[in-house]
Amino acid sequence: MKIAHDNAERHVLTVTVDNEPGILAKITGLFTARGYNIDSLTVADISADHAISRITIVTGGPPQVIDQIEAQLDRLVPVHGVVDLTTAGPHVERELALIKVTGTGEARVEALRVADIFRASVVDTTTESFVFELTGAPDKINSFVALMRELGLVEVGRSGIVGMLRGAEGS
């Protein structure tokens, strides 16, 4: 008896929802209950009256599963709309990371030099540590974290991806 696994492709979905109690549990629970993956999820309210939230979900699955995820999300009452950025067209994806690195001497200098190359900014420092703030596409953050691993990496915090379509049109 073999259990089948499908080939997954990565998609970034943005979901606009009513900012009401339990909505996040409803969405994450839907993913769990129907066996979908969540690679990253971010959420914050985006309207002046705090009534609307935007959730960005990075997920993976074959095209028909992605289509199902979109349809299942769309049928939740508090969900206003779902946009699959990956199929909707050119879009930007950004993530923010905080990276703590400790070290002295040459490693410390090298860490600062690499941070400069990546345009990371120093948001906290002691004589033996830095906290870098880095914004960018996930790949860039991955590369930076990999380099810092050799230079005294202590801790990484990542926000998960926020995405938006390019161009003048709203999604």
């Binding site: 008896m1 009513d18 109690p21 339990g22 549990a25 409803k26 629970g29 839907l30 209950a33 028909q64 289509d67 199902q68 349809a71 299942q72 769309d74 049928r75 939740l76 009452v77 508090p78 206003h80 709309g81």
Partner: protein, 610 residues
Amino acid sequence: MQTAPEPSKTEKEEHVSDHPHPDHLKTDQQSGAAILTQCLVDQGVEFVFGYPGGAVLPIYDELFGDERLRHILVRHEAGAAHAAEGYARATGKPGVVLVTSGPGATNAVTGIADAYMDSIPMVVITGQVPTGLIGTDAFQEADTVGITRHCTKHNYLVKDPAELQSVLEEAFRIATTGRPGPVVVDIPKDVQIAVPSRRVAAKLTASHRYAPQMAAPAEQVIEAVEMIAAAERPVFYTGGGVINSGPEATRLLRQLQDITGAPVTSTLMGLGAFPSEHPDWLGMLGMHGTYEANLAMNKADVMVCIGARFDDRVTGRLDAFSPDSKKIHIDIDRSSINKVVPVELGIVGDCSTVLGQMIESWGARKPQDLGEWKARIAGWRARECLAYPEKSAKDPSAIMPQKAVERLRALTHKRDPIITTEVGQHQMWAAQYFGFEQPNKWLTSGGLGTMGYGMPAAIGAQLGCPDALVIDIAGEASIQMNIQELGTASQYRLPVKIFILNNEYMGMVRQWQELTYESRYSNSYSDSLPDFVKLAEAYGWTGIRITEESELDAGIEAMLAADGPVIVDCMVAKDANCLPMIPSGAAHTEMLLYGDAHEGTMDDEAKALV
């Protein structure tokens, strides 16, 4: 209550006498519980199926002496939920349930999940511990909103009494429109007592929050009509969505069939939308569907799925499901389209609206000559797949259960009965042999397959349709799952009939053990059965036992002649199996029929399928 004292009765009475117009009830002098009952009245609710408890006492006090709402006291909260489902399916109106916090709510969950799977409109009011105690593991506290999150269409915890009215209005709208379903409204006890000084308007005025698409785009309708018109071997595959869409959908389905000539099959949930006596009726399809229905699905060139969802019980092995057909799927729920079976044309819309659009678009066209297709179907029909063995192999004198259902139909058909069922072999035999001419006459637990559904559903249906003959076709195992509801029928003098096909086995489990596990009958024998006749009498019902085929008609007539509720304990062959059957993991073309050998085992791939 410290924060929000209840207005005294005298205060309220004075208030009522001051303002004789109904609108006075909309003022801010009402407690949460009074707002709730008023909302139920405004929504046209006739019956509330419920069970009192600590966290709903303020609501029960409001119901006391209120003649606008009739509370039906069940014996277990599961019974309340199923009774509400039965009422909803028989009348097309939403069922309303009222239960207390904690165990009251958790007991109702099976019925809520059942209504969710079968798209039954239902509003469930659950009591909750006071807001200040939420999260403290208080007495009879359960996270009702958390527990019901994934088996409701939507749910609410109302923490502010000012929102109660708008939440309830939205709850009814969500439950009854679009794809219907259960909505839970969890109301803490202090919110029931508090008197709000203001009211919050309904959120639903924001159109993007909830707006089901009813009509299909015109170009999709035209495309569908072109596909059907060009079809040489069309088939209509209809489901519960046609019934949920209302009697108009049934009428339009019959009209569309009439002008296109396409043969019709239906899911378990869709029985009754198309008349079983029509020459183009193929019977139910799927695992226990007819040979002709399944082969027509397999050989069709255009399949029109109307309000059904390609359930695994319908499709059999997916890669062999209707391989040569172009598929059109009409469903009000977009997530049903392309969920398991990819279709050429998915149409999101309400069955009734879209069928109307299709009929209009069809206009005066003539369909293709379907003579050859109908002749092939007639060939499959000639196989007489429902012709069961006349005698049981092990006990030749025993009543065949199929025969019992056939006689029950013959003797009740002219009274157009409402049939409910439990779950198992008896349910499939009822679906195969009863035959329905009208919608809302067949109430069964399809998606969730809940044993214990039938009797409470019959109680709900009888309340909604007081003049109807309501019969629960049951098995001796299933009926025991909600047997306590005998008392509910007695209390409200409901003349429901329970017809038990008693084979002393969980028959479907036994059948699968024969097919899959070399007849090792692990725990499927119904040992220590009660004497159902005495049990009936203990509850003030009439009890009738039928053991010989010669007594069958007389027993059924006696059941029909009795004014009050009746249990018929009909002893049937213990070894009868329900065929035809598509075994797990098999295709529509690989049906087991009566006369085929089917005992043995299966490989693990097949065993793993449900």
